[in-house]
């Protein structure tokens, strides 16, 4: 009887998560575009064959992986530092914590527009500064080699607070006695970071790593508003490519194929990250 209370939630989750995934899997084996009059016709894996030879798909995969790796690594490093800072006791800590949360709470599109202005050439503050000290303009948003770094800055700014909070929660579960004992045995405070804090923080690091990796892999809002995928497609992410396939090229079959392969690549990325973390903890065991 009580189990009946689960039904609405289960139905809604199935409708929002389950049906789309099934629908994509099915669509990825069908041609469904303007050419077929938006009617799904089985095409025996032609979408997947096309994907294998699609330069743009692999370019976007590379870009998404590069973006996710660099921004998630930076975020975690910064988040550890911020969490350690916020874990100490000092006056005004609550206010600072609230302020540092602000970037996370704002809609992504709002600050994506803000970043476009900050990185603007020649009127944004950064280019004004380079001009002031007599450098050539950087053309941040129109140079395909560096634009993606600007999107990394936007992402790190927005999502670090979230990771910092998760890690802060982890820090607060570590009993103070451990540090006192370490201190009494003559351990250096800095060594405590590597021998107590980080090892005990590992589950929280893993959780924020997985969560952030998944979100960074699906990056969409930031890229679409900040660069539109440009210049020269250099910042286009897989999610944006799937979006363009569906909404601009009206090719739903291929869009579904891109979505599903994005999901598969994410699973692989998570496995790799998990293996690396497991390996490093083995090394740490071995070093002890």
């Amino acid at each position: 009887m009580i189990q009946l209370l689960l039904v609405p939630a289960a139905l809604l989750i199935a409708l929002v998560f389950g049906i789309p995934l099934l629908r994509y899997s099915w669509l990825s084996f069908h041609a469904d575009s303007v050419l077929t009059g938006l009617v799904a016709i089985p095409n025996h894996g032609a979408n997947w064959l096309r994907l294998l030879h699609d330069q743009r798909f692999w370019q976007d995969t590379y870009q998404t992986a590069r973006f996710a790796t660099v921004s998630v690594s930076l975020e975690l490093l910064l988040a550890i530092a911020i969490a350690l800072l916020l874990d100490q006791r000092w006056r005004g800590r609550g206010v600072v914590r609230a302020i540092s949360l602000l970037p996370w709470a704002l809609p992504t599109t709002v600050m994506a527009l803000g970043w476009r202005w900050i990185f603007n050439t020649p009127y944004g503050p950064i280019e004004q500064f380079t001009e002031l000290i007599g450098l050539q303009p950087l053309n941040i948003l129109s140079n395909p080699n560096i634009t993606w770094l600007a999107t990394v800055v936007g992402d790190v700014w927005k999502t670090t607070p979230f990771a910092a909070l998760i890690l802060l929660a982890g820090l607060q579960t570590i009993p103070n006695d451990l540090y006192e004992a370490f201190h009494l045995e003559g351990g250096h405070p800095r060594a405590a970071l590597f021998q107590i804090t980080l090892p005990l923080l590992q589950p929280y690091l893993l959780l924020s790593l997985l969560f952030r990796l998944a979100q960074a892999f699906g990056v969409f809002d930031l890229i679409q508003v900040m660069t539109g995928g440009g210049p020269a497609g250099s910042t286009e992410s897989l999610a944006l490519y799937a979006y363009l396939n569906a909404m601009r090229f009206l090719d739903f079959g291929y869009s579904a194929t891109v979505m599903i392969s994005g999901f598969l690549l994410l699973v692989i990325a998570c496995l790799i990250a998990w293996l690396i973390i497991k390996q490093t903890s083995h090394w740490r065991e071995a070093l002890k």
Binding site: I2, Q3, L5, L6, P8, A9, L12, I13, L15, V16, F17, I19, P20, R23, Y24, A81, I82, L85, W90, R97, A98, I99, S100, L101, L102, A105, L106, P107, T108, T109, V110, M111, A112, L113, W117, I118, N120, Y123, P125, Q128, L132, L165, I166, A169, G170, Y204, A214, F217, G218, V219, F220, D221, V225, A239, A242, Y243, F252, A256, G262, L266
Partner: protein
């Protein structure tokens, strides 16, 4: 030591606030002052950017109102479904509950952006496009995993004697939930509500594809549309005014509800 810490605190504040303060500064600048910031100007400061944004058609507050409607209806729907579900999961056997939590965690981690094309198809087949309240369905569905996880851990923290006592008093299931259990999980409910509200307020890809009528756009989509509207001129003063107006409600929300937000996120981390 303390001086070093103050340095880090200053850096953290700068990093968090500088991009926002730059928007604030930009929003009050005249066009000429933006193009030549270092030159002398007769008039450097102006309210024109705000006037422009607030008198546009539709005016900017319309988008704020739309986002409030979507946020409140999604939060209400989520809690309505998630509270009974979490209660029910706190009563089932350990194995079932563990399996359910694993599924919920996986769904909560899932990058939902990948779902929006199929969700758009659902909207088309049920004729849910251009309807603010209809957005609550995907939003409630996408927030459901996190909401159930948070509320489940709150229900499990309650001592079982409480409910037992209420049962002996002759309370039926509905009365026990209404008068005993739901008041006791108030803090967790508040945390969940604010997180769901923030998600619905900020959500972009689904709102972008489900809503096309200009007067129904939610704030994130309206902002993005402003961004896409004129590529060649530089109306950044007006952009900045729009971002400041869009950021203000959230600034208030974060300052008022920071404790709930923090405990929601951290509970999710510790117990999820």
């Amino acid at each position: 030591m303390i001086r070093q810490r103050n340095l880090w605190i200053t850096l953290l504040l700068l990093w968090s606030l500088a991009p926002l303060l730059w928007q604030l500064y930009t929003s009050f600048c005249t066009h000429e002052a933006l193009l030549q910031p270092l030159a002398e100007h007769n008039q450097r400061w102006t309210l024109d950017n705000y006037r422009q944004v607030l008198t546009a058609n539709p005016p900017f507050w319309r988008y704020l109102l739309n986002s409030v409607i979507v946020g409140i209806s999604s939060t209400g729907l989520t809690l309505l479904i998630a509270i009974p579900a979490a209660y029910s999961l706190s009563k089932v056997s350990q194995n079932v509950a563990s399996a359910a939590r694993l599924i919920l965690l996986g769904a909560a981690l899932f990058p939902y952006v990948l779902l929006f094309v199929a969700l758009l198809e659902l909207a088309r087949s049920f004729n849910l496009g251009n309807n603010l309240l209809a957005l609550s369905f995907p939003y409630a569905g996408l927030s459901m995993p996190l909401a159930v996880l948070l509320l489940l851990s709150a229900f499990r923290d309650l001592p079982s004697e409480l409910e037992e006592a209420a049962r002996l008093e002759g309370f039926d299931l509905w009365q026990r939930l209404r008068w005993v259990l739901i008041p006791l999980i108030g803090p967790a409910t508040a945390s969940t509500a604010i997180l769901v509200f923030l998600f619905s307020w900020n959500e972009y890809p689904i709102a972008l594809t489900w809503i096309s009528r200009a007067d129904l756009l939610t704030l994130p989509v309206a902002i993005a549309r402003i961004a896409g509207s004129s590529v060649y001129s530089i109306p950044y003063g007006a952009y900045a005014a729009a971002t400041v107006l869009g950021a203000l409600p959230l600034l208030l929300l974060v300052l008022i509800f920071q404790r709930q937000i923090v405990s929601g996120l951290t509970q999710g981390a510790i117990k999820g």
